[in-house]
């Protein structure tokens, strides 16, 4: 398929997944607020920190009050990673590939956009924030469901999967990073059942609470981290995302998993293998934040490699990573 089209589909999926996950960040904080005794600033500032746009926020808003953070992450068009910006970009990308995606998919992206425009204009969304953020999650799911059931699972679909899964892996790592930091300042508390409410909220933000319960019963921080990083079956766990992303990547190229012919396959394969053989106690003793930070950097490198391999039309012989032996 056209490189430009593949690129647009990949980003369409990424941006929609991003919008959904930001809704999840905000939603979990709103829930926490109802039960928590933590001060508001402490509670909202990490959200901006993990979004990676702290400087921009600080400059334009100053204090991380609830309203400021919610507005920055939801309706601020000058924040390229806000929900509304993400949906606008997703729709622009979808617009350029309308002939490739199904009409149903386009209709859902378009509705997503119209919902946000409505909310932006009416200003009433935040009167009932739970409904509003839930609607955003549901709209994303409607899109994903339509994608799954109305589009052929060929190359274009695999680019959609690739974009969505890499974005989701990144965002799950960020949700975990932020909350871990907030909920568990002292390392000696790891492994003890504390602050049940906070952890339940964290799991909820990844829609993981019930699935976690089936596996672990008691809420223990290290198990929560294990579930969200290493679980093989839960669709928002980082490892699951990478596993499925790798399958899509190899469906696109036609190469066997376990081998690589380009640097996207090499980097993603390596990152996934790291997780395959990782152990949660090790991760925590070395520092969960450091682990997640390193993971995000490597994931970005996977993204760069995908761009170079498929979207910019460079060939393998120009690819420095490929000078290393392929197997």
């Amino acid at each position: 398929m056209l490189s430009r089209v593949a690129n647009s589909i990949y980003w369409m999926a990424r941006y929609l997944e991003r919008a959904e996950n930001i809704a999840r960040f905000v939603d979990v904080n709103l829930h926490l607020m109802l039960d928590s005794t933590v001060e508001s600033k402490e509670q909202w500032e990490p959200l901006v920190i993990i979004s990676g746009d702290y400087d921009d926020f600080k400059e334009r808003y100053g204090v991380a009050t609830k309203d400021n953070v919610i507005n920055f992450l939801t309706f601020d068009r000058d924040n390229p990673n806000s929900i509304i910006s993400s949906v606008i970009y997703a729709r622009e990308n979808a617009r350029t590939v309308r002939e490739v995606i199904s009409s149903e998919m386009w209709a859902e992206v378009n509705k997503f956009y119209l919902i946000l425009l409505d909310a932006e204009n009416s200003g009433e969304a935040l009167d009932t924030p739970y409904d509003f953020y839930n609607q955003i999650k549901m709209q994303s799911h409607l899109f994903i469901g339509n994608t799954d059931t109305t589009m052929s699972h060929g190359e274009a679909w695999h680019f959609d999967q690739l974009g969505r899964l890499l974005e989701r892996a990144d965002k799950t790592s960020r949700i975990l990073d932020a909350k871990y930091f907030l909920l568990l300042p002292r390392v000696e508390d790891v492994g003890t059942p504390i602050d049940n409410i906070g952890w339940a909220a964290l799991l909820n933000s990844a829609s993981a609470f019930e699935m976690y319960r089936k596996k672990f019963r008691r809420i223990v921080p290290s198990d929560v981290a294990r579930f969200l990083i290493l679980d093989l079956e839960f669709p928002r766990s980082i490892r699951y995302c990478l596993l499925k992303a790798q399958i899509s990547l190899h469906e696109i190229t036609g190469n066997d998993i376990g081998t690589f012919q380009n640097k996207a396959e090499r980097r993603l394969g390596r990152l996934r293998s790291d997780l395959d053989y990782a152990n949660i106690d090790e991760i925590i003793s070395l520092g969960l934040h450091e682990f997640l930070d390193g993971f995000q950097t490597k994931l970005n490198e996977v993204g760069d490699a995908i761009f170079d391999t498929f979207f910019s039309l460079r060939r393998a012989d120009q690819d420095s990573d490929m000078k290393e032996v392929s197997q």
Partner: protein
């Protein structure tokens, strides 16, 4: 919501013969509409608009700052064309397109029509849309104008006239297809009871026509639709047609000419393209052949085309027949090439380039519509009847300065169709009709077309860029269902 107070007045109404008397083919619809309470009709109108909006059936208005996308205003009352009228239109358009294709080919090759003194050479060579680069060109299968969207209007006497031909990149066919989808949902019972000719096979016919153009040694040709990109006002249509036909939608940057062939950049390297339905104007198509500043086109594509390695639809150069001065000669063109009288007449046209005509125009500006020869979209024209004395005087100067650039036509009293006004009642509004014609193995006229409606009371300007809307167009068949 009834038609008791609806009065066609002195106009030709497409649905009513006279007050209270629907035309024979419209009775099922009118009865159905009359049986609905007002609220029901308004709800159906709202549902139709919502469907179009959710489908993203939008176009771009450049002058509007508030947002770049709008839905094309849509009115749920269809325009209905009776079988005998349609048979006449279809016959006339086939004749016209066949003759125009011969004409374009002649202009760029033997120029017999000039040698035989039918059209002055100066007229042709002063047309802005003539492409000297096309001289000597023999397009695949001898076809130049593969896709045409002729604008027809109906005067108060009920006669259909051709207003213009649009042989370059006519747009709007996607609205015809989407409008039909929406109306089937809006009036399912009426569709069931009536015998309305389908338009839904247009994408399939388009695709077959494009395949027909492929170089004969190519077994399964790769076809692409070349768009200027998402900021083009007709982008929705480009992507819609690509989606419905399954052909690849490409932008100029996706294509590259190598070793005389055209390729597209894909995730797996370069792939050859055999047929291109281009929706980019001639001037922007190839910076090497035409406008060197174009960033939209594909450098070298014209050479690939001339060598027969890629087919283009429409061929470059067809715009010469869109020139409104050349248009005035179409009846003579038909007579010259086919030896027949035109089935569909032109709107009577005064060519300001000719002294006698110009004198008449200048003396009768208050009765005429004056149009520039090479504009489209309803821009730059003078509606003499409604213009002020000052506007007319200014226009007279323009005409004297550059007579070649102007033609004039009497102000027609366009036919009307009822629309819903103020969510309250029906009123007549003026319409035109743009059927779409495909020229491949044979000539196909889509049964229907885009009915554009001037939604402003009394307005005769139907262009979407100037406040026009659209309606579904039902062509009735007299064959038993």
């Amino acid at each position: 919501m009834d038609f008791d107070s609806y009065d066609p007045g002195k106009f030709y109404d497409e649905l009513f013969e006279s007050k209270g008397k629907p035309r024979p083919g419209t009775k099922i619809l009118i009865d159905r509409l009359s049986s609905f309470p007002k609220q029901e009709i308004l709800e159906r109108q709202k549902a139709a608009e919502a469907a179009l909006f959710n489908m993203g059936v939008t176009f771009t208005v450049y002058s509007d700052e508030s947002g770049i996308e709008k839905i094309f205003p849509f009115d749920i009352l269809p325009r209905i064309v009776e079988p005998q009228d349609w048979a006449h239109i279809e016959k006339g358009l086939k004749q016209r397109i066949y003759a125009l294709n011969l004409f374009i080919n002649d202009v760029y090759n033997d120029q017999k029509i000039i040698k035989d003194g039918i059209i002055p050479k100066d007229i042709l060579y002063s047309s802005k849309c003539i492409q000297p680069k096309c001289e000597g060109l023999n397009p695949p299968k001898g076809i130049w104008c593969h896709i045409t969207g002729s604008d027809l209007v109906r005067d108060k006497d009920g006669v259909f006239y051709v207003l213009e031909d649009n042989l370059r990149c006519p747009s709007g066919v996607s609205y015809v297809l989407e409008n039909r989808q929406v109306l089937k949902r809006t009036f399912p019972l009426v569709f069931e009871k009536s015998n309305i000719l389908p338009v839904d096979d247009y994408p399939d016919r388009l695709s077959r026509m494009l395949q027909y153009l492929a170089p004969s040694n190519v077994e399964s040709p790769k076809i692409a639709l070349l768009t200027p990109g998402i900021y083009n006002s007709a982008y929705f249509e480009h992507s819609f047609l690509a989606q419905q036909t399954g052909i690849e939608l490409v932008e100029g940057n996706d294509l590259v000419v190598k070793d005389g062939f055209v390729y597209m950049r894909t995730t797996k390297g370069f792939e050859k393209v055999d047929v291109i339905y281009r929706r980019i104007d001639d001037d922007f198509l190839d910076p090497k052949a035409f406008n060197p500043d174009s960033l939209l086109g594909v450098p070298g594509i014209m050479e690939a085309y001339k060598s027969g390695r890629v087919a283009l639809a429409n061929a470059p150069g067809t715009g010469v027949a869109d020139d409104k001065v050349v248009y005035a000669y179409v009846p003579k063109i038909i007579k010259y090439y086919l030896g027949e009288d035109p089935v569909l007449p032109n709107v009577p046209t005064y060519v300001c380039w000719e002294d006698k005509d110009r004198e008449y125009v200048l003396n009768n500006l208050d009765k005429l519509v004056v149009k520039p020869a090479n504009e489209s979209g309803g821009y730059g024209l003078l509606m003499g009847t409604y213009a002020s004395v000052k506007q007319r005087a200014e226009f007279a100067e323009k005409i004297k300065e550059n007579p070649r650039n102007y033609i004039a036509q009497p102000t027609l009293s366009l036919s009307r169709v009822p629309v819903i006004v103020d969510d309250d009642h029906f009123e007549g509004r003026h319409v035109d009709l743009r059927p779409y014609i495909l020229y491949g193995e044979d000539i196909y006229v889509m049964p229907g077309g885009l009915t554009r409606v001037a939604l402003k009371k009394g307005s005769l300007v139907v262009n979407s860029s100037q406040g026009g809307g659209s309606k579904d167009t039902w062509v009735l068949s007299d064959l038993p269902k």
